[in-house]
């Protein structure tokens, strides 16, 4: 197992390099002088030259990259141009909110998606299954903001269970905080669950056709156990892959729900930063998100080997 872990970590290096290089080039590929962009339109040529010197922009590219890597590792990511604070101080609070919403959304997406997908698979061809499949197709076609708006209309405007928008930070109480992020999290989760449902249905239908399921039937194994033990072990793998991809999807999707519900999360922060050309902040957020997704997928990779030990032993799946 340790050897497998080491292998995966080693394989991580090229993947991690990608967001780093992209972010590095981000600023330098934009048309115009980076220093001039950073200082804005009102800067004098002298100020620009001084900043260039200060940021080391006159050095050869690879040297700049070296300094950049050094800065990343020591978390010297600069200051947010508009908020005036260091980037590393700004991100955590917003990131936490987004993480909360994403975790709840992930749970909702998986629970709803797997449940719906399993129903569609085990009742394939029968009324319940057809309905479940149809819901899955509709769900994929409906964009997140439509789901969000529907939830707002039903649960906030009609039933008054929640407020329409408005964020309550944790400091003002745990339950009010939770209530303020429930609808955003649900919107995100429900929208993503459709995809999970389709993958789950496909994975289960494939496995159920396999000969080893017939063998289990020939032994008199009850259908419930066939599903829970024999089918799940094999069908779980594609579903886990989807869960990993889901994390990336949720992080980007959160921007939409955060905007609709007025929640101060990282998605909104990024949108605002891009709009205001707050490069340092954009850089920081992209780095953070990129590395986060990579780590999550590493964890998914590692959990494969728990579900299917053949992966760890390096054998090909049947």
């Amino acid at each position: 197992m340790l050897r497998y872990l080491a292998q995966r970590l080693l394989a991580l290096l090229p993947t991690v390099a990608v967001p780093l290089v992209l972010v590095f080039l981000l600023l330098r590929l934009a048309p115009g002088d980076p220093a001039a962009i950073l200082l804005g339109d009102s800067a004098t040529p002298d100020q620009v030259a001084a900043l260039r010197e200060q940021l080391g922009l006159n050095a050869p590219l690879w040297e700049q990259f070296g300094r950049f890597l050094g800065d990343v590792v020591t978390l010297r990511l600069g200051d947010s141009l508009f908020l005036g604070k260091p980037v590393v101080d700004v991100i955590p609070d917003y990131a936490l909110v987004t993480l909360e919403i994403s975790v709840i959304a992930l749970i909702v997406a998986l629970a709803l998606g797997i449940g719906l997908g399993a129903l569609a698979a085990f009742r394939n061809g029968r009324p319940a299954g057809r309905v479940a499949t149809a819901l899955g197709i509709i769900g994929i076609s409906v964009p997140q903001f439509v789901v969000a708006l529907i939830l707002i209309v039903v649960f906030a405007a009609w039933l008054h269970w929640f407020n329409v928008g408005g964020f309550v930070p944790m400091s003002k109480g745990f339950w009010p905080h939770l209530r303020s992020i429930t609808l955003p999290a649900l919107s995100l989760g429900i929208a993503e669950s459709a995809f999970v449902a389709r993958i789950t249905r496909g994975a289960i239908l494939d496995v159920v056709r396999e000969p080893f399921v017939t063998t289990a039937r020939s032994l008199g194994v009850p259908p419930r156990r066939i599903g829970a033990v024999h089918v799940v072990r094999v069908a779980a793998l594609p579903i886990m892959t989807v869960a990993g991809l889901l994390v990336a999807s949720l992080l980007s999707g959160s921007a939409v729900v955060e905007t609709i519900f007025g929640v101060p999360g990282m998605g909104r922060l990024l949108l605002d930063a891009v709009g205001r050309r707050d490069y340092s902040l954009v850089q920081g957020i992209v780095l953070f998100t990129g590395l986060f997704v990579i780590i999550v997928n590493l964890l998914v990779d590692l959990s494969y080997s728990v579900v299917d030990p053949r992966v760890r032993l390096g054998r090909k799946s049947a």
Binding site: A216, S218, L219, G220, V221, R233, V234, R315, A318
Partner: protein, 312 residues
């Protein structure tokens, strides 16, 4: 004389295909006594595998059996799912053809061998482990290394087939149906499986229904045989009679078209050359027109002939 363990009468299987209903198996009759071995012989498209699956209750959704299959007096056709499940494994065991795909790729050998036990017996963990060890011993996998923690991908072909057999007998069934158990194997492994099946019959007294196209295997393992072609039985009777004095052209053709060691023939006679009116078995049972029926030519020996009084 006691009633046979398995009595199949007028068994037909209809397939629901895109082109309409299709009679895959028509009017099959045969019987198997306790402790005896019966071979169902045929080539692809003969319906032999479907017949076996129908008896075991493992047909897919688009296949509908009709007629009668009596096991120890109980009618299996139309039996409820729960009753069928109670019998599966416990009274009828099944050995499948391709162990690589018929065994679970991820669960360990030990876990899979316990599945039948969990379904039918109330055993604690230690009892199950003991029984698993016993089963591996019976099929000859006890002496070598302990494979209970292995996955099937780590085993050789012969070992997998033995595990498959161990699973089939795990709940002490009275009938074991083996679908082409030797077909995918090398000749020395084949020999081992044939010997194993024989010893199981002796030790456990199980009745064996062997589905195969290999007449050599039939000769060495089975007392009686049923030859199927185009979904119907064309001949049935004691193995010795069928192999040395067959009455139906198809049986004769089958026997003659197999090369045997020491064979001096420059060409092999084929079904097409001996009985040209019987085309490729895969084709429609139209090849068996005009109307035919099974006729008893000797005690226990039946052959399909043209029905009396029917113009060709």
């Amino acid at each position: 004389m006691s009633a046979p363990l398995l009595q199949v009468s007028d068994l037909s299987i209809t397939a629901d295909t895109a082109g309409g209903p299709y009679d895959a198996v028509r009017s099959v009759d045969f019987a198997l006594d306790r402790g005896r071995a019966l071979a169902v012989v045929g080539e692809s498209g003969s319906g032999k595998s479907l017949t076996a699956l129908a008896i075991a209750g493992l047909l897919g959704e688009k296949l509908t059996p009709s007629g009668s299959v009596r096991f120890d007096g109980r009618e299996l056709i139309g039996m409820g799912a729960a009753d069928r499940r109670a019998m599966a494994g416990r009274r009828i065991g099944f050995v499948f053809q391709e162990p690589m795909s018929s065994l679970h790729p991820i669960l360990t050998v030990g876990q899979q061998l316990e599945e039948g036990l969990r379904a039918h017996f109330d055993m604690n963990r230690r009892q199950r482990a003991d029984r698993v060890r016993e089963l591996l011993d019976i099929v000859g996998l006890g002496k070598a290394r302990d494979i209970r923690g292995d996955r099937i991908g780590q085993l050789s072909g012969g070992m997998r087939q033995r595990v498959m057999i161990a699973m089939a007998i795990s709940c002490e069934p009275e009938l074991v149906i083996a679908d082409e158990p030797t077909t995918a194997l090398d000749v020395t492994l084949q020999r081992q499986v044939i010997d194993l099946l024989g010893s199981l019959r002796e030790r456990l007294g199980v009745a064996l229904m062997l589905i195969t196209h290999d007449l050599g295997v039939v000769a060495e393992t089975c007392d009686e045989a049923v030859v199927m072609y185009g979904g119907q039985v064309v001949e049935s009777g004691p193995t010795a009679t069928l192999l040395h004095d067959p009455a139906h052209d198809y049986t004769r053709a089958l026997l003659m078209s197999i090369p045997v060691l020491g064979d001096d023939r420059p060409r092999l006679p084929t079904v097409a050359s001996i009985a040209p009116w019987l085309r490729d078995a895969r084709q429609d049972a139209a090849a068996l027109r005009p109307v035919t029926e099974l006729v008893t030519v000797a005690p226990g020996h039946r052959v399909r002939r043209e029905a009396e009084g029917v113009a060709a």
